[in-house]
Symmetry: C2
Subunit: 372 residues, 2 copies
């Protein structure tokens, strides 16, 4: 593996070495002991855990101990609304929904329209705010319990967020923000302040309910710098450090380096038609197959770099089916066109359900949005 990669909340490039990220970020690897504990409470293990798609954490043992003692946690996840929802965004959502279902807990979902406005030179707050609504519908289409799900759109909930954010801000110097996020003197003062707004949902339920409630943040590993700061500061304000659990990135269609992103290369969107999905995968999904059918039949494909196989790890929950595909592809029994077709069918079936759910979700979104 090359060490030439970069992971920040705003940019991921190169082939990510997750082992090194564990060391650099200071997160803990998820161990089998921890998995057993989760399984004990959930009754099963989500395939994202079995496959180490969620691979690292902070304070999960503490969180489960609290849970065992009857102290329920709440979930907090979110996204920056700078574009349409693509499959990469769904990875933490799918897992978060599983946790909500298995542990029957409240969930706060933050849409940082302020952040994207501050970091995207060409986007207005009106742009990012209207994307936040679209993103919220996509989110709710995954089937979150609307009675236990609360949506925060930053610019519409700042009456609650800002007075708490300044409490975080008072404990956070520019030096820290500079070193953690790589901001500098040319950064705008909103960018410098922003992480404090992302910290708030990790303790707002404790503020609102007047008691300390444990928090669990499932997120893609690139957001960890925000929560490292949050974890550092919350105890100084009298709140628990939030626990967190980190996923790897869904790789881009073009190959396993980086993460799928709307700004770089091709992404598969929730709004893509079955035909568009097929075209994108057939055309762009990097193949681990051999150059000729003959050679492929003889030597087999490489699933480590084959994007169709890698994506099936995220979207085919059945371990046996996945193992079967792996075996056939690696042995050369299955050709690139065939594994691509399996992925196309899988994604299209998945998106069909989401599209139907999305229509129903429009109503629940309105009910779930927290307003000042």
């Amino acid at each position: 593996m090359t060490s030439d990669f970069k992971v920040t909340p705003w940019e991921t490039t190169g082939e990510v070495d997750y082992e090194r990220l564990i060391k650099d970020f200071g997160v803990e690897k998820i161990t089998d002991t921890l998995l057993k504990k989760i399984e004990k409470h959930a009754g099963e293990l989500h395939y994202f855990l079995r496959r180490k798609i969620f691979f690292a954490h902070r304070d999960m043992n503490w969180l489960l101990e609290k849970y065992e003692k009857g102290e329920k946690f709440f979930l907090y996840t979110g996204r920056g609304p700078s574009g349409k929802t693509h499959l990469g965004h769904l990875v933490p959502y799918i897992f978060t929904k599983w946790i909500q279902d298995k542990f029957d807990v409240e969930l706060y979902y933050q849409l940082t329209d302020d952040e994207k406005f501050l970091f995207k030179q060409d986007m207005s707050l009106e742009d990012t705010n209207s994307l936040a609504y679209e993103n919220a519908k996509d989110f709710m289409a995954l089937g979150f319990n609307p009675k236990k799900t609360h949506i925060i759109i930053d610019s519409e909930y700042s009456g609650k967020l800002y007075p708490q954010a300044i409490k975080v801000a008072k404990k956070l110097t520019f030096s820290t923000v500079k070193s953690v996020f790589g901001l500098n003197d040319s950064s705008n003062v909103g960018q410098i302040f922003f992480t404090t707004i992302q910290a708030v949902p990790a303790f707002l339920p404790s503020v609102l309910k007047g008691k300390n409630i444990p928090c669990l943040i499932p997120h893609a590993i690139d957001q960890d710098p925000h929560f490292r700061i949050t974890r550092d500061i919350l105890p100084k304000l009298g709140y628990y450090k939030p626990a967190s659990i980190q996923s790897v990135f869904l790789p881009p269609l073009e190959g396993i380096a980086g993460k799928m992103s709307s700004s770089e290369g091709q992404a598969v969107y929730l709004t893509d038609s079955p035909n568009e999905v097929r075209k994108k995968i057939m055309k762009y999904a990097f193949s681990g197959g051999k150059d000729t059918v003959e050679e492929h039949r003889k030597k087999g494909g490489n699933t480590d770099i084959d994007i169709s196989y890698q994506w099936l790890r995220f979207f085919e929950p059945d371990d046996r089916k996945l193992a079967n595909i792996k075996e056939k592809y690696e042995s050369g029994q299955m050709l690139t066109g065939e594994i691509k077709q399996i992925l196309v069918d899988k994604i299209n079936k998945f998106l069909e359900v989401l599209k139907k759910n999305r229509e129903k979700a429009e109503k629940s979104v309105e009910k779930c949005i927290l307003r000042d």
Copy 2:
């Protein structure tokens, strides 16, 4: 005059050279031509203008031109609630009320409880917020028209302030904030962000009413750095640059260097009893009189450095009475004890009225506070 002085929004020390401040800050001196224009519309000149207590401005000519063409402005002033209201705070208020009355305009009064929380290490947001309420009552006791006065307490109106503040923030780099306010890498990120919140009332009425409305900010000169930034950025957002008009500081009792402040030396508070006022002035008011009665009778006192006389410039509106005092004191006819007694009586009479008004003001404060 010594050049060893410092004026920032958070600290004023040394004997202020206002002529140099005009150059350093880039404000304009108020000319007789401008005074005539103001007089033409107001029907008279406030004694703060006659005496150059309001001595500088930005864009007042433009504002009056707009006014002549039928484009009414609104007023914006405020304060940071870090303590009780003292006489120094009243200087911009007294003038602002005169402008409101003479020009019959709307007024926005901002109480920056967030700022004081962020800049005062030992104050909680609850502390500064409860002071904001007390300060608001003091303000309204001056007799502002409650139908045309709107009070903004930052932490309670952040639902409206923050989404506008980030629009300012996007145009403002840390470099600028660093050089204008002397902040540095050890500053907390709330301090760095804060000036954007202070910018908002200068254009919020334009946002709320959907049309560009001229703004006039009467304030003590130390707040100018905030509004310099505001003026720089607002046109980039499509709003008018706010006009502003600056006052000198009420000097501290102890002598003409610096400004009266709760954190340094003695201050006269609105809540002081007549006896406390008398004691403070008798004991602390720096005297321009001579060492012995004999010498004073012969040579007379120096009104340039005599705090009682200097304060009477702020609190005795009658020019003839003031001239009479000056003459008698400078000629030695009037002794230090006598001029102090005149000031004591003047202040106590003034405070008596304010205290009565304050009781009535409590109700109007509630009505005037803007809430999310």
